[in-house]
Every structure is written in C-alpha cells, then in structure tokens.
Symmetry: C2
Subunit: 237 residues, 2 copies
Amino acid sequence: MDKSLYACDSCQHKLCAGRVSLFTSLDTDQLLQVIKLIVHKEYKKGELLLFEGEVRNDLVIVNKGQVKAFRNTIDGREQILYIFSEGDFFGEKNLLRDQPSNYAVEALEETHVCIIHKNDFQKLVKEYPDIGLKVMEVLCQRLDRLENAVETMGTRTVGARVSSVLLEFADKFGKQSPQGIIIDLPLSREGIANYIGLTRETVSRKMSSMQDQGLIEMIGNKKVLLLNRTALEKSIE
Amino acid sequence: MDKSLYACDSCQHKLCAGRVSLFTSLDTDQLLQVIKLIVHKEYKKGELLLFEGEVRNDLVIVNKGQVKAFRNTIDGREQILYIFSEGDFFGEKNLLRDQPSNYAVEALEETHVCIIHKNDFQKLVKEYPDIGLKVMEVLCQRLDRLENAVETMGTRTVGARVSSVLLEFADKFGKQSPQGIIIDLPLSREGIANYIGLTRETVSRKMSSMQDQGLIEMIGNKKVLLLNRTALEKSIE
DNA sequence: CATAATCTGTGACCGGGTTCACGATTTAAA
DNA sequence: TTTAAATCGTGAACCCGGTCACAGATTATG
C-alpha cells in the first residue's frame, strides 16, 4: 500500500494514526477502527497542551509539530524534560491511574495532536497486545534517555553537557548534508540551557568556542552544522 | 493465609516470590508455578550483580538486601541512578530485546535475588496480564523518579539537592519515631554525592549546616534523624 | 575488645559558571 | 520591506563548589 496514504496532510485525517509507531502493527481496517476513537486538536506556538499538575484521562499523540515538556523548578528555573515530536506521545501514566501530570507541555510551533481516551486505549491494548508492548518499549527508551540525562547533568565539564545535547539532537533532528549533519534546533539557546541545567550565557559561550575549534558551525540561531561528529564525541571524554 | 508464609526466611524459598509486588495478583497455586521458574542467588557486599554493558536475558528481583545501579562517567565520576531494595527488580529491558545494560549493579550489603528467564517471564505475562501492567506501573514510577532527579540535578543551590535526597530516602527508608523520621541511609556521604552529582565534601558541609539549623540530626554515619520535615521541604524553596 | 581500615569533617585556595549589563544580530510581524 | 520584538554574544566581577590535605570519628574485623 502506498505509504503516502497514511500522511495526515494528504488524507484529511483519515489514516493519520497509521503514521504513529504505536499503531504500526495494525492493518488498514484496524486503523480505521482506531481512528473512530480519536479526537483531533491543533495548537499554536506557545499554547499549553497540558498544565503541570493537571489530571487528565487521555493519551496525546503528536501528529505534526513539536512540543516541550517542562517543570517550573523551585529555584525559579524552567527544567525541560522532553521534546516530543511527530509520533511521540504523552499521558501514558493516565492509562494506569489518574495522576496529576509531572510536567507542563507547550507547543514549540504549530502542532496537531490525536487524543484518545484512556478507556478506549485500554480496550485497544487488550484487543491488540502489540500496542501494549510498543508502549512498554517507548517507556524503556524514555528511561534510557533520562538515565543519560542524569549522567550528563552530573557531569562537571560544560563541554560534555553541550556536546551531548548536540549529539542527541543530531540523532533526532539532524539531516545528513555534504558538509556534515545539519541540525534544526528545536530550542533556543535559553531552551538548550534549560534542558541541561546551565545558563543561556554559558551555552552561548561554549557553542562559540566549539565553532572556533571547528567542531560546529552556527547557521543563524536555529540551525547548527555538525562538521565533525567523531571529534565532538571525543571532546566529551 | 498467614502472610509470614511468604517470607523467604521462614519458608526456605518456597513462596518468596509472593513478597514481590509483581506477583501480588497471583494466588498460592499460581505462585508455586512461578517459583519453579526462579533461580536464587546470593551476593556479598561489594559484589557485582551486573556489569555495565553486559547483555543478559533475565529479570532480577531483589528479595533481601540493597543494591545500587550506577555508571562510570566519562569524567571519572560514578553516577548512581537507582537504589533497588526488597521487591524492586532490574533487567526489564531484556524482556523486549537483548540490549546491553546501561548500568552496573553492586550489592550494598548481603543481598538475595530471584532470577527469572526472559522467556519464562514473557510466558507469565501472557498468562497473567496483570503482571505486565505491574511492570508498566513500575516503569512509570521509575520515570517519575528520574524526572525528579533531572530537576534536582539542574538545581543550582546545593541545599535543594541535599534536601531532596533526604526527603526521598525518608519516604523509602524512613521510620517514624517520637522525635521525627529516622532514615537508615543506604549510601555513604560519598554515595549520596554520587547520587546527586556533588562531591563528598560539599554533601558533608551541607549536612553539617543543616544540623546546625536544627533541621536534621546525624546519628553516626549511617542514620539521620529528620527533625522537621516541613521545614526541610520549605528549605528547598 | 582492640586494632585496622574506612569514612567523615573542615580549613584554605582556586577556578569556572553565574550574574549583571548592554550592544548586536536575528526573527517575526505589520 | 520596514519595524518591533525576541534572541544572542560577550565582557567584567563575584561567588560558590571543587580540589587538596589532614586530623578525627566511625565502622568493620579478627
């Protein structure tokens, strides 16, 4: 089957659920069944999809765009925990019990989501156990990422912290180009700082020095060209 | 049924699996079935249960004792990620795919574990779906803890970091007493430092100053009396 | 119970990251 | 395209936590 059929844009939301890895094990008929359960919603840049402490009973799947999940810390900072983009979901804890959210979620750009009610999703999981396994797999990936994050934030050297973000973003948002990997940064300098527990100024200075060393090249504020990935990896050590 | 029957000590390993929350939904007959699949193993203080990067295909359940899960970081530190004690398990990622471990696991004291093979556990999950849900629930709790940890490690003030560990340990290892909550610390000062990304000296100094302020009282090196929990919580802000 | 091994507390110094400030650049909006 | 708003880069001073060193306390061991 033509994969483009699954694209949200070309199908007017008919098979958009098919793009989400949670549902890759389903065939078209099953997908149609799923889509009946889904509510669509759109958010503009800066809008909140979820408040910190809010209690909800549904699962939200990002279909287009990007959001950040963050907490306002006791010392007045903003700690960003996750960047969710196409195919990612949040609210999985709601599947088990009604708990207030650990974090707020804000759109970083125009964002479209699919929302599915807890009860419906639970039924889906019972009918198609593969979906439950997928959820578990994603949770494990998220644990991996946070375990890395804890290590990174415990690191004393700033260079290692900044390098590790750039490498993480390169894997998730980078595109290969003749000169190297071009990263579309999902966050501003301040956002990056809030992701790794530093200040905007420190991130700025470090990226400048990395550019001087020929490791990266900044293209405007929202793109970075990774000139030498292996050198950057080594610079962590 | 007398719950003491489930205790590992009093039953010579006959129903020890019943103590583990993973299996609380099973009745005695089912438990007996599970126990046939389990291999027991014991470790002395300081022994490694799992090496960083090791690939295994089983799930390890702590039945008695305590272990720490940690990584050796690129800048020579040791970053402790988890303290696992009675009823906790690790190796859950092995259920999905054969992946090298993100961390090493070392016994903090004499520790007894139950080991169950991946294939057997997967069968169990299929037969008793509640077990799978329990696993998911534990994974979500672990995410909660790491999300908190990331926030804590991003915090600039040392006081907030130390307070948050003490509060976490109070919840997990504390016992109410007339004077306050007595915490049996699972880690040395250095261990605590490696848990929150500081140095031993800094932790030492901060705990001394907390004692001077009348917030805590140190009893030897391995116990702490939490005199004023709410004051400590506020001291974070 | 004694002794060794380990862990802990604290002072002094140093360095790197934060803070504050402000001009320059980039991006978004009209 | 122009203008306004947001973001970014960088210098200077300060301050807090790391590092090093060592004595004292605690815990483990025989």
